[in-house]
Symmetry: C2
């Protein structure tokens, strides 16, 4: 009797019983990074603040102009803005007494596109 | 002496001292809706689950195939999936014993585009 060698390539989809490949899943570090971006926008007040900054005709907003529309105190707005900065959604520049915030172009779009590969 | 009438149009940008117009801000209901979508993805495990579902070649994933890659129990995965369903990021279909999840095309992209008007 002749035995034929059988080779199973573990990297081949045919080797798996289950259609979903685990390698289609984002890795731990990427998942953490993406969750940070989305979590920063997971609050209605931060959504409002981010909408003001991205819509600013001058390309930036002073913290002094953010408090009025959202109806929050400046310390509370600054706290929310810190989370948006840490998530990479906006950048912050201190000029004299006031902090100015600029939208970080692409951060949100890139995060959203991570799922459409 | 003749007095001339002075008309100030409060809706005109010229009437405001401040460049940011509050009407550039998303309204309360929109902010709530957007925050719900982003909050649902504000967790690394839900990011992983969503990445598996959006990458599925068959266009859907059985809950039984989601537990392994993320290393979580089925009740925990079902809890995470409930939040993704409620945010409108995936749809759920019960077939016999198992729940199957399909990505809701456009929900995340639309949410991200709310800021680039």
């Amino acid at each position: 009797m002749t035995t034929l060698p059988v080779t199973i390539d573990a990297t081949s989809p045919q080797a798996s019983c289950c259609p979903p490949a685990a390698d289609a899943m984002v890795d731990d570090a990427t998942a953490q990074d993406l969750a940070k971006v989305f979590k920063a926008l997971g609050d209605p007040n931060r959504v409002k603040l981010f909408s003001l900054i991205t819509a600013s005709a001058s390309g930036e907003m002073c913290v002094c102009d953010l408090t009025g529309p959202v109806g929050l105190s400046q310390p509370t707005v600054s706290h929310h803005m810190k989370l948006l900065v840490e998530a990479g959604l906006v950048t912050r520049e201190q000029r004299g007494k006031w902090a100015y915030y600029q939208p970080a172009i692409g951060t949100l779009a890139n995060a959203a596109q991570a799922f459409t590969a």
